[in-house]
Symmetry: D2
Subunit: 336 residues, 4 copies
């Protein structure tokens, strides 16, 4: 059975997912496209999905009978509206992060899905589909004893002028916030942020680097360095310390060379290359679940928890040095 997909938002990521469905993955096809800029939708149709219909609005696309599942890859402010509409239509829906721009918005989606009574939403936390993180989770679950600490870093070579301090949480740390919950099967109870000496390469409106300290229900302590002007590369480091040993996230595959008086391998510099393979796996998971009328992987609840946790981290930035508590509502049974 081929899953018939409608794509709302045909910018860079919407175009790329359309290519993925049309040219890479088995079992799905893009039958509908929509974008606030209709020319963009028509261009993607022409290039990648000539048989697809271009719809005037996302709502119309969701309502179209031939659309069996929805991809929401539009501007973040519109995510909540489209995901709610997809739930109302009972159609599986993949939504790029953020699920909603506020925790309250994410909660409305959770409530709608719980009312619907079955999972329909997958959120685009692609790291859970990365081969390296999956191997790390296997090691955390089976090889190093109970996890006690995580030491991590999220480094970008540089960021544009419009990147301001809270974006270090909402755009950068958000991936660690989700993936550590999943790695540890745990939730956060507090956050603290401290600011080291500022790098001379940081723009005026961003405190860079930052160190975020998180504490989980089980007592795991996490330190994450966020350094978005680190110069040398896009580099994601994660080390989990357990009662019996330590496990490291693998470095991306690279050619080791002896050259120019150095033993060396390249470090990626473009974030788009770091998890490129995980997008294929992520969408394959969506297609397979959608074929069964449901969703799996990171869902509405994870998007909601990420929003609450992020808000606490931003508050912890503002109250630098103070420990800010994080409290979560009870998890509905649907997400057990």
């Amino acid at each position: 059975m081929t899953v018939k997909i409608g794509v709302i938002g045909t910018g860079m990521i919407g175009r790329d997912h359309t290519r993925r469905i049309q040219q890479v993955l088995a079992g799905a096809e893009v039958v509908a496209l929509s974008d606030v800029n209709a020319d963009s939708a028509r261009a993607v149709q022409a290039d990648l999905a000539p048989a697809a219909t271009v719809h005037a609005t996302g709502q119309e696309l969701i309502a179209a009978p031939e659309v069996g599942a929805v991809l929401v890859t539009s501007w973040g402010d519109t995510h909540e509206e489209y995901v709610l509409a997809a739930i109302a239509a009972g159609k599986p829906c993949f939504c790029e992060k953020p699920l909603a721009t506020t925790a309250a918005g994410a909660k409305r989606i959770v409530d709608a899905e719980v009312a619907h009574g079955a999972r329909l939403v997958q959120v685009g936390f692609m790291r859970r589909y990365d081969a390296g993180y999956r191997m790390l989770k296997e090691a955390v679950d089976n090889a190093i004893g109970a996890p006690l600490m995580i030491h991590a870093a999220h480094r970008n070579p540089t960021v544009p002028e419009q990147y301001i301090t809270p974006m270090a949480i909402h755009d950068t740390l958000i991936h660690e916030i989700d993936v550590f919950r999943w790695l540890l099967d745990d939730d956060y109870v507090s956050a603290q942020v401290v600011f080291p000496r500022r790098s001379k390469h940081a723009h005026a409106r961003v405190a860079d680097p930052q160190v975020v300290l998180l504490e989980t229900r089980k007592g795991v302590r996490i330190d994450v360095e966020i350094f978005v002007n680190c110069r040398y590369g896009y580099d994601i480091q994660c080390q989990v310390v357990g009662e019996e040993g330590v496990a490291y996230l693998p470095e991306p595959l690279a050619i080791v060379m002896r050259r120019d008086a150095h033993l060396q391998n390249a470090i990626l510099t473009d974030w788009k290359d770091r998890f490129v393979d995980s997008y294929d796996v992520e969408l394959k998971d969506f297609v397979e679940a959608a074929a069964r009328g449901t969703a799996s992987g990171p869902g509405s609840w994870d998007g909601y928890v990420a929003a609450i946790s992020s808000d606490a981290c931003v508050e912890a930035q503002e109250k630098s040095g103070q420990i800010v508590p994080i409290s979560l509502p009870d998890r509905p049974a649907l997400y057990d």
Copy 2:
């Protein structure tokens, strides 16, 4: 356009390629199956391709009008016959190694394809599609100067009793024979084999380990250790030494751990895991070329050269210590 594929031979590899086409890759479907054991073909049909027709013979399958391209994954002795039939039918054909069981057989396929006037055959040398080898080729082409030497090893943890000395060439070294030609864009002019002290873990009928020394037209010297009872793992090592530096084939992705008084990561022990991702890429390449009515990647000529080179290496085993010349016919223009 969906490529309609017929699969001849539904053993382990034929079943796996069928799964790949049906469940993983975009752009193709399995419409026909055949196996010397009809129950096997029917089981694959039932499990993976219910819409496919089961044919009584490979020849019948090749002749079937709905079949647009052929996968030959049957017993090695039958490859030549089916590939020749596919060429005769003008249908793109993917053939697992060996292309033929003799160099003469491979030559007949080359001759038939040359007579046909266009490429139709891809041979299953999957290492050319491995991400690590592709990165290594990029380094050889661009980062280390002219290649001068390769130091390599092909190690298996163990082999069954029926594995005898010449199989170290035909079943094991064959992959290095192809992939080094491709890495270097070069061909072999001689081979020598020397036998180190035998491992006590080697069965009586296999000399193990062996060291194969190859020389290329451009003067590159290659040493390959073949060690099929190395105990510790399935391990493929390749180091290219150039005028400006040295490049290494990457180790497979693995979790580094500190545990039990060791800094360590697992080494694969099952060869099937080593290049598992490259089968997807290899078949994707076949499907995309077949959609255009042709074939790309390793072809008949490569299968023929591999057969000639392997025969020289087996002769070099028999004349241990002697340097055995390798001479190739001129390459037809079709393969330039």
Copy 3:
């Protein structure tokens, strides 16, 4: 000129330093020995320094005219007294850590040395003499831009029952406290300690692991994991993040092996092996300075600052989660 050394305290470390002076290093000899247990001193004399005189007390040894320099390797509670006596006698003095058991005691030594008007005291912070840390300091000074953060870990496989929580500072972190000041050419302004989930392998009287967060005058933020029942080995990790890059403390030399399905190298399990070479370099430095009538390397001021900083860290343990300020007196010009 041979430096004539008296050794006070002939336990494990005093015996080992005597061996070092007698059998390894040029330029010095042990001429006097003393221990609260006279039999111990006589045994070291018999085994390693037959020409040495055994003195009844450390004070008598310090006063002996043939003694040109003093090694204080006795029980920690006695260090202050002997170091003060050596200063009073104007004799260069090497004192194993701690310089004194209280910051007030260390201050009395600083005051005495300042009154004397020249450096006479070296404290046994041997990490400053370790080849790896020296290479790291070179990188921090020249290769990674201004340092912004340090991520570090100090892990022991296990500790005895009598190891209690504050010993994680006084006996374990003390080495990081000194070596990071030296690496960064900086001092601490605050400390915070948080306690992750306790390892099930920790004894009842020790909170294990701990995370210590330090802030320096220049704004460098340091996180140090102390994990003294980590099981897997004695492991010292240190990573300095600068404006232009990251530098790592080298792992100790080890044989990498492929064996038992793992790529692996041994991690040390006995702390005594980790910095074994640095003791030779440390004492060589002492001997060379003593030959000139002075002392170099880590001195009284460093011992005093380490004591003040440690006391703040212990307070931070007691006030878990709170940031405890560290304030230092002005540094006397003698130590510039």
Copy 4:
């Protein structure tokens, strides 16, 4: 007891060993110096050993009654004469390589030492004292099963114009020739040399790189790449493959950095830095044995076998591709 040493030859290495004895090692002093250039000897005396006597000739120095042991660090052509004189005088003698410039000369030394009836000579094969090789030998003896193969490389960044093809054996491979015998506790039975494509960076009079293939009595097969214009660094690689696993010579201690889009560490470029620590250990061994009136470590027999083996390798260069047998006389019982 202090060993009183006379040094013959006060060039770079003689001066360095004098410094080592005077300033680094316990238990020895330089009491006599001699050089064909008397000014050189006087300069070393003035700088490092003011109490030493400068002798007009090496023979006079050897005969001087205050000289208890001799270091021969003069020009290679003179080694044989001085070592024979030291044996005749019954004085322990450390001789830098080569022991003699011909196998016949080395045999005369062996014969003289055998006639003397006890070991007096240590040859300067310092790699046996390198910490890394010692760890590797431990692994070969205990951790990887019976050794079957060695894959090795000896690379220099560049060599001067006067370096000609046979020097790749006499000056470069000579170290591997000795250290592999010691690692394996074995001897060579044949050698073969093949010449890869020449590097464009090689001078006209040197074939570069070369691959030397050695076979031992126990059947171990060794391939050594010699590449003396490899550009990127001075790099010694050694991998021993045994029945149960593979062990690697450790890389020298180095700071790993993330910088400039690379994970990297420096490779040494000056051969003098590679085994710098082993000279201390080597001479310490000489001093300790000389204090007992004997010699240990690599001796005359090893120097003789190295000469015979080297001669065979040079013949194998001249007969490129041919396997040249190596036959050794029986080893005198003195060297068991």
